[in-house]
């Protein structure tokens, strides 16, 4: 029997986040004391650890929802979990590829900067003119959605 604060410390997930997970149905509603405070048991900690770990690995909340329901049915075939993980891996790789292009671009920009006045600054010049770029880092219309996380 532990309080939400103890659960929070143990799992490394902030208190409001735990309540949020409950609200969106990732965490089950725990027992309450007479005074309406949440009391958790070991199973809650395991589940929260699972969630945090999956979030650390970049899984979306929706993916985690799927993984949790798979976990709940141990006799179900495992390829669904495998596919979710593989999708996530592909996602992570795409993000790495994109960030590497940005890295190259930024390296170029920064290294060229001679430390003069803003009027001749390479950083500013490059940002003002895409044609000065060394790589094609994309003219994506939703550039960052792909990279966040």
């Amino acid at each position: 029997m532990m309080t939400i604060g103890k659960l929070s410390d143990t799992a490394g997930v902030k208190v409001p986040t735990i309540r949020y997970y409950e609200e969106i149905g990732l965490m089950p509603e725990p027992e309450r004391t007479e005074g309406n405070q949440r009391r958790y048991v070991r199973a809650h900690l395991d589940r929260l650890n699972f969630i945090r770990h999956a979030r650390d690995l970049g899984f979306s909340v929706e993916a985690i929802r799927d993984l949790l329901s798979l976990q709940a049915t141990p006799d179900a075939p495992c390829h669904d979990a495998d596919r979710i993980a593989a999708d996530n891996l592909a996602d992570v790789r795409a993000k790495i590829a994109r960030l590497k292009k940005l890295e190259a671009e930024l390296e170029h920009i920064v290294s060229e900067c001679a430390g003069g006045r803003a009027g001749e600054c390479n950083v500013l010049a490059t940002l003002a003119d895409h044609a000065l770029c060394v790589t094609n880092h994309g003219h994506a219309h939703n550039p960052l959605d792909n990279v966040s996380n």
Copy 2:
């Protein structure tokens, strides 16, 4: 003199986004027609291209604000712009490093999956127990903030 739609198409920035940039002060308020529609000139396009390019490169709106004010004062020393870009580069590198750890972890998880039942699934087992991880991909308390670009 171009409409917001033309500006949007030319710069590759969605119309509501342009209005949003105006609202937060990244873009200046343009002239209006008698009927209250925005009309842009070349300078607006240049500025919007600058902004989009910087966003593509992962700069935050706040960083862009700084860069734009530097651009407006060509005689100012350039090291501020350089520092902003260098900070951003460090940021991108940190994200890459983090994502590579995730990649390694996910590769491990996925490759180990024998395609059996969920009860023995490696994906699920690893998520349930951090100790099974091959790398220390961090117990960060704000795991994804560091990675979203």
